[in-house]
Assembly symmetry: C3
Homo-oligomer: 318 residues x 3
Amino acid sequence: MKHCQLSGLCQAIGVVWSGEDKIITGLNTLDEATPSHVSFFNHEKHSAQLQKTQAAGVLIEARYAHLLPPHTAPLIADEPYLKLALASKLFRHTVTTKSQAPKIGVDCDIDPSVRFGCGVVIGDRVTILAGCYIGDDAVIGPDTMLYANVTLYHQTHIGARCIIHSGTVIGSDGYGFAQTKAGEHVKIYQNGNVIIENDVEIGANCAIDRGVFGATVIAQGSKLDNLVHIAHNCKVGAYALLTSQVGLAGSTTTGRNVVMGGQSGAAGHLHIGDFSTIAAKSGVTKSLKGYQTYAGFPAVEHRLWLKIQAKLSSLAKK
Amino acid sequence: MKHCQLSGLCQAIGVVWSGEDKIITGLNTLDEATPSHVSFFNHEKHSAQLQKTQAAGVLIEARYAHLLPPHTAPLIADEPYLKLALASKLFRHTVTTKSQAPKIGVDCDIDPSVRFGCGVVIGDRVTILAGCYIGDDAVIGPDTMLYANVTLYHQTHIGARCIIHSGTVIGSDGYGFAQTKAGEHVKIYQNGNVIIENDVEIGANCAIDRGVFGATVIAQGSKLDNLVHIAHNCKVGAYALLTSQVGLAGSTTTGRNVVMGGQSGAAGHLHIGDFSTIAAKSGVTKSLKGYQTYAGFPAVEHRLWLKIQAKLSSLAKK
Amino acid sequence: MKHCQLSGLCQAIGVVWSGEDKIITGLNTLDEATPSHVSFFNHEKHSAQLQKTQAAGVLIEARYAHLLPPHTAPLIADEPYLKLALASKLFRHTVTTKSQAPKIGVDCDIDPSVRFGCGVVIGDRVTILAGCYIGDDAVIGPDTMLYANVTLYHQTHIGARCIIHSGTVIGSDGYGFAQTKAGEHVKIYQNGNVIIENDVEIGANCAIDRGVFGATVIAQGSKLDNLVHIAHNCKVGAYALLTSQVGLAGSTTTGRNVVMGGQSGAAGHLHIGDFSTIAAKSGVTKSLKGYQTYAGFPAVEHRLWLKIQAKLSSLAKK
């Protein structure tokens, strides 16, 4: 894992800081930062988290610095999120074409055209068809099948008995950018990864992004149809059924046995409760309690949606 | 083709049965089952089909068994659909990396990086660019062009003069699962295939799933844009225009010269009549007669949709 | 570049013509045609453009021929658009598996499995991972990264410091067909290309079509998320943020710093003004002035959309 001194980090991104130096192993949110992480504060709605953070240092505007706990160094910046973007580059994994023979279990069937990065570990009885690419330090569990032309980025973890269909990409960069005052977008390097648990099946031409910090997770027994988009840091709960062309925006989580109909989607930073069913083409814009069916955009209880449709029909007849 | 004894099938999936043994060559719906097929009955709405089935045996709850015709053996199960899932595994094609030189017509231009399964047959003057994968027993008609990184699963049939753009996947598994009482999803192996007729063009990064039984069909002269999803057992009629990001759910069929606008979709098990035009972003939720334009979600006649929009506008002005 | 005599073109597509012969280098719209282009007139709404065209000749019905300027030859046809389709074939690039070592800059890192067409030019410090395909005459700027299994069609231009994620296809054919009276679709060969400017990032499994004539352009600093569709001849302005599953239909252009939410789309031949924000799932059906937020389908000002939603909610409560 990449790491640096806090002093070095500050120097690299142009933040003035002095104090006791520490080794920093990465970036994270205020909530999830450990004492070896640097975090950031860019919105007042996160004030409560500020006071409880374990972070070694927090990128923060001067006027908020007094809210930090004593063990956390203020890293003063006018635009903390932009500085975060700069800092993220320090922890990025450098992807190259360097290749190393993977560690392979027994009875595997791997096409000679498959290309591996370094440090790949493959379980027993894994099948990987032609044209797949398996990035550095990826792990594939036993009895898993990768059809042709699947791409796993570095550090992707695939569980046991999974089936990944052709064209699917797992571990691509999440969509995260900081904006400059001039309207330019500065990349926040996505240094997390993707974890696919056991017994997951993923259809063709899906895209599952790696976490910005931490992991994007597809929990056990979930089944994704074709052309599904899962953004960074989503946690799809166990036994989900995400049908074709569904999209989940960043950091949205679902409970267990959630069903989403075709071409439906959810905004970011929501929770979709256990046993929610989302009708086709719906758009979820706030968190849902679950144990029922929702429909429409914005998604509401299905019963209510039917009522709205009935009213519209009768309106049209007038 | 895979086959087994009916007795062996029952033993493998834990169904008690005795009677005259038969060779079973596959599974199918009540309607389409032949005397060498096993079928299933899991919903009362299919009662009429039950009485007319040709199936050798039907997975069925005991209370419905008396509805079967005399030539059809009752295969009694509390959860017939789950047993179907187990049985489907017996007929699956085992996909491996085993490769065999394909039978190739004259004047073909095939990149040396293309990987073939066994038993592939390629017509005259076919071009296949780098990175394509052509699975077992696939057939490609004359004068067809596959751009780079196309994936054809086993048993896919492509007609003459077709153009398949990069990243497109044809023949991936349909999305079919039986549910256990615990909420787990058990795979129904997709043992059908895909048939693309002559003069079809398919855009980039589409996904066309193989049939669960029988074929998914794209009929002659149809043109698909990019990122289109076609689920298992759809039959897209001749001269269709399916524009980008369209999705068809399972078993939906269309007449001829159907046009679907961008990001529109249709639910499963519907028929969209000849010369239907579906406006962009619409969602078809019931079968349509055709020869006109439909819009909205749920999709209605375009004229009605315009009326609803006008009412909404005037409402907003109040 | 392909070219032919005007006389040869007319003969090839079955148009009777006599006059002073010229070398024709391609086809184009009335507006953009140069004196070495042939153009077409198939709708009265383009009459104004007809009078100002620079084209060497225009495919046109006899009854409109008198509207042409004196320097432009009338190429009389009952179905000019069908003749255009036939003519487009004359200028198509013949794609083959022929390969040639590309011209490569310093300090590049290119996987040996990458396949190149002829005439490819690659800048300094470019990384290209396994399974990519780079078509004839493609150009890749310095410091650009192509993740595994990216496909660039012939003549695609990628700028400096771009990041293209896996599975993305750039330069596939635009979706253009002329219809016969029998309802068949005749391909209009897409002889333009795609230009990706500097500092663009494109997510996984996107599809960006080449221009029919001229270029499809993604301007500098734009960031596309996963599964985005960009049709032929779109011009995405600088610093756009197009999030996942967005679709732009043909020839639509955007100003700078346009933001489009997930699963939103725009119809063809529109302009979306500078600093427009389009909410998720919206569908843009007419040109937008910009500098504000739009929502819904058809997309309206966000304020108005909220009002409509409120009215719907109160209707449902009645």
